[in-house]
Subunit: 307 residues, 2 copies
């Protein structure tokens, strides 16, 4: 099944796809996909049954899309998780490196990516995203996939100029039993992703959440990214360095995952035959429309506007 | 007024302080301070009036504290925002540097900071925190404080060993019109704060949210941090490099602030006469109890446990 959250004149509603062209509105109370995720299996099945029998039918082409989970507890992302160019990394962790994007950065399919000229360079990052179905604390890798509700598409918009601005070169304070005051300073670099990853509209997501049963292998999905119709990235989720189960197991050892939480699995990077580096696609210079397609999951499209 | 969220046998409730020793439970529906923040001024005043007249009275000493806003849309923190040791910074932004902690990291006053030995060094960071009352997008500095609902205490627990692990030294991809493939790689450092700032229990917060009217100058507050009764940090919010209005104005230019959002204003660092660097207080080696007191705002205390 595939679920989405849409805007209606009288609020928001969750819908279930009936076909590629038609969706059915879920019963009152299912105001978004987070409610669908939180429901018991029985309640969910009853709601879907009722929607398919008697729910209002809407043409998919006319839906006003919101992020499927409009306000996840967290949007957790994995950095540099593509095996396509490990030679870029001079040193780094041998475990998934995690950062957060705020719910306020989310926008739905078809909504604008809103930039300011002084944001500097801004590029898209096409990603498979996992929607958590069951709370997960310190779960085993073998059990990890049972915590997945489904999958969606995430565009992890990134502003590398803001990243460079928000990087400190500094003396970190480390303990030193030999020193008179017990500390020494160690030359370090630290960067803070609040702005460059978390600005408003920097997280287009959707259109659908496809339930896990429809994605038997999340690591065999073609993922493409195009700009104004030209394919830039043509990759596969087989190139994820850490797979979905590894990321859930590792992340849940540190951060409890809750139903509705979203995990961005890391950027697909492999260039298409005619494409270039996705990091070279400066949306703030080029504007235009970014489209990300993941097999079995869907196509997320958003157009740049300036504010 | 000061509000808190407490755990009761039948769920959670918001309370208002009647005195230093007594609190009154707000009417049904006000299940936490987020509801108090979201209410209209009239509804809030009516609820407080009803609580003071007929609400159940509870001794403050027996409250089971939760984070006042249990599930903020975001916990936004400002890095390196103390003027006490600018000489540590070799280069960095001249604007507030922002990162996020997830709601799952929050714990209330009196709850355990739960560590694992392999988290490495872990230190407390005593901070004044702002609770947003009104939505803020791109607000002026002059108007910024009108978006504040109140203030609380945040312990921005940090694991520098995990920070070092989650730092990449890598070749960032930059556009280069001269290059055959349009890009060049630039030696860079990037660090991801998901684990070292965001692990479960890494954000003790509370006990109270004190409304802004009781804190006429948020930049004249003494802030102390003690470990097992020994004062380590003795600082004042006068040492914040960027003040509350500057941080709200700057952050809201990028990330919409919503009612209930929390902003950690950055670590108080000045050592007490007998203290040392707060970064040298390795809770994972020492265990014990951390207490942070901010004038007019309250005292937040949490004890280390190992899991």
């Amino acid at each position: 099944m595939r679920f989405a959250t849409i805007e209606r004149t009288n609020g928001t509603a969750a819908v279930v796809a009936v076909s590629d062209t038609e969706a059915a509105v879920l019963p009152d109370g299912f105001t978004d996909v987070a409610r669908v995720v939180a429901a018991s299996e029985g309640d969910r099945a009853a709601a879907v049954g009722q929607a398919l029998r008697t729910g209002r039918r809407l043409p998919v082409a006319e839906l006003s899309w919101l992020p499927p989970v409009p306000r996840p507890g967290k949007v957790l992302c994995v950095a540099l998780n593509n095996s396509a160019n490990p030679d870029r990394i001079l040193s780094g962790p041998d475990t998934p490196a995690l950062f957060l994007k705020p719910a306020t950065a989310l926008v739905g399919h078809g909504r604008a990516i809103r930039l300011r000229k002084d944001d500097g360079r801004v590029h898209p990052e096409p990603e498979l995203a996992v929607v958590i179905g069951r709370s997960a604390t310190d779960v085993d890798r073998a059990d990890a996939l049972s915590h997945v509700f489904g999958y969606t598409v995430l565009n992890d918009i990134t502003a590398p100029g803001l990243r460079a601005e928000d990087t400190f070169h500094y003396g970190a304070i480390h303990p030193d039993p030999q020193a008179a005051d017990g500390v020494r300073t160690v030359e370090s670099w630290v960067s803070y992703p609040g702005r460059y990853k978390g600005s408003d509209t920097f997280a287009p997501m959707g259109p659908w959440v496809v339930t896990a049963d429809e994605v038997p292998d999340p690591h065999a999905l073609r993922i493409t990214c195009s700009h104004d119709g030209r394919t830039v990235t043509d990759d596969t989720t087989a190139h994820l360095r850490f797979d979905v189960a590894q990321v859930i197991a590792f992340a849940s050892r540190y951060l409890t995952l809750e139903p509705g939480d979203v995990i961005g699995m890391g950027t697909a990077l492999r260039r298409s035959a005619t494409g270039g580096a996705v990091q070279n696609l400066d949306l703030n210079r080029l504007g235009g429309r970014v489209e990300i397609t993941i097999d079995r999951v869907g196509t997320l499209a958003n157009t740049v506007e300036w504010r």
